[in-house]
Amino acid sequence: MPEAISSSMYCTECRSPLSPAKMNSGNWSLCDRCKAELYIVAFPAMLRPLQPAHTGDVLISDSESGCFYHPQKRAAATCEYCGRFLCALCEIDWNGKRYCAGCIEAGKTKGRFKNLDTRRILYDDVALALTILPVILIFGIYFTFLTAPAAIFIALRYWNAPSSIIPRSKARFIIAIILAAIQIVAWLVLIYFLLRSWFN
């Protein structure tokens, strides 16, 4: 049976197939159908045949090891995290290593596998916004008695929490704490003078 080619290139405007002659030419070429100007680069992965799906082989003798999840199937690999035996159906080849689905899921949830992170909350930006936005907004300044303590709480609570995947400093947290502290001091001074004038 001939091996299937994984895919071919299509024009991103009209979805018509593109001739291989237009690929890797180093020049812009026109789509035959919609005449869009295209620059196409193809890589050897395009010619890589699609891997057939494995369902796992059935155990033939008692001397063979069975899969942890499917005991009737022959073990083909061990999970590199938990060491469980896995059949061809259960093994997940990821980043050149083999894992079981349970470990991948647990690693993603607990943040063990950095490369599985798909979303992060930027607490330093949240803290900074809580100190700056109310000041910029005209009526927001009255809410700083709430937002400033909140900014300090977030900065301290999430000081060690993972921030952006791209390394960044703690500067935002520090600025947020300083600004929030100034706002709190300003409120305290205001309350002090109000109380003093009231009692006088």
């Binding site: 080619i5 994984s6 895919s7 071919s8 290139m9 299509y10 024009c11 991103t12 405007e13 009209c14 979805r15 018509s16 197939p17 593109l18 291989p20 002659a21 690929m23 890797n24 812009w28 869009a36 100007e37 295209l38 620059y39 196409i40 680069v41 193809a42 890589f43 050897p44 992965a45 395009m46 010619l47 890589r48 699609l50 590199e80 995290y81 938990c82 060491g83 980043n95 290593k97 690693g107 063990r112 596998f113 950095k114 490369n115 992170d117 798909t118 979303r119 992060r120 909350i121 930027l122 930006d125 949240v126 916004a129 952006s164 995947i165 791209i166 390394p167």
Partner: protein, 353 residues
């Protein structure tokens, strides 16, 4: 016996964890794109073994990773949006400059300063467009899906970034020679119906674009109405304009809802968003001008009534200029949109080759 076999399971687990969480060094690729409508900023980073796309929504970041080993191809397509924006900003900048120069002696200082800031923004946007050069759309292809790399939207920056990506991919995969390329079998034809490229998870819904035809027709009608008012000055203008505005906004909201995950081409979807921006600009600028006018010295109830009927405001130069700018944008967007939707509908009806 491998080294790993000698380690106890606990240590092996720790070793694996350490390898997975070790700090990746990323270098930023040229170019970023602000998506004002979605309030997000996209950036592209080169990692050791993968390309990282970050979509920053302000307080959260979303990551997409494309391993060099899996990338099958990159496709850049030139677009005309840069030219359209250049013409638009150039026109607005020119009009703003002409008004500013002509009103230097007549306008109060505060109005001159505000108008000067507006002019400076328009001139900056025009120059930035000219300097950054032509626009393009870049798509990355893997065996599983096609992803638009929206941060690569300018040809010059995109070509630099693509060269860096190619170097990394070829380091991992090798080079595809012209001889190997000839062995690529002819690709099967897809349906003539254009499909949304960008996300593999969401299947594009069939949609024939009827709502969009009404929307772009409303844009053209509104543009024509404003132009007619400038030339003819008829009394029913305000009433017709108000009705048309309501119709325009209703169709706008409906079209924006309907086009999500529909089979419409990205260029039509973008035109609707541009139209949304233009309508918003029109509403805000006319309200701001109206307020300035109402609070100007010498106003009385009779003049306010006349102004509301559209007689008096039509006489002032800034109002005329604003009307003409809005009319030009509406006509341009409406005509472009209508042509594209009609072409899209013709594509739908065309049988697959």
């Amino acid at each position: 016996m491998a080294c790993a076999d000698l380690l106890p399971v606990k240590e092996l687990v720790q070793l694996t964890t350490l390898t997975e969480t070790e700090q990746q060094n990323y270098s930023k690729l040229a170019g970023y794109r602000l998506r004002m409508i979605r309030m997000s900023r996209n950036t592209l980073w080169l990692g050791k073994d993968h390309l990282l796309m970050i979509r920053n929504h302000g307080f959260t970041e979303e990551y997409k990773r494309f391993y060099y080993q899996d990338i099958q191809g990159l496709i850049l397509r030139k677009t005309s949006s840069g030219t359209v924006w250049m013409i638009l900003w150039g026109f607005i900048a020119l009009v703003c400059l002409v008004v500013l120069i002509s009103q230097l002696k007549d306008w109060p200082r505060i109005l001159l300063v505000l108008w000067g800031i507006l002019t400076a923004i328009a001139v900056y946007a025009f120059l930035e467009n000219v300097i950054r050069g032509g626009t393009c759309v870049c798509h990355l292809r893997t065996a599983a899906h096609i992803q638009e790399l929206s941060s690569l939207s300018r040809i010059r920056a995109a070509m630099k970034a693509v060269a860096a990506i190619i170097a990394r991919i070829e380091h991992q995969q090798g080079f595809l020679s012209p001889e190997q390329l000839t062995t690529v079998p002819a690709a099967p034809l897809l349906s003539a119906q254009p499909q949304h490229v960008g996300s593999a998870q969401t299947a594009a819904e069939y949609y024939d674009g009827t709502l969009h035809i009404f929307l772009f027709a409303a844009f053209i009608s509104s543009g024509l109405l404003v132009s007619l008012q400038v030339i003819l000055r008829f009394s029913a203008y305000e009433a017709i304009s108000a009705i048309l505005n309501v119709v325009l906004w209703v169709f706008m909201v409906l079209a924006l809802i309907r086009q999500r995950q529909s089979s419409l081409s990205n260029s039509i979807k973008r035109l609707v968003w541009y139209g949304f921006g233009a309508a918003l600009f029109s509403a805000i600028s006319s309200s701001a001008y109206g307020l300035l006018y109402l609070f100007s010295p010498g106003m009385n109830p009779w003049r306010v009534l006349r102004a509301m009927k559209g007689y008096e405001t039509s006489d002032s130069l800034p109002w005329l200029v604003l009307s003409l700018v809005v009319a030009a944008i509406y006509l341009l967007l409406g005509t472009l949109g209508l042509l594209r939707v009609l072409r899209y509908r013709a594509e739908l009806k065309r049988p697959p080759a």
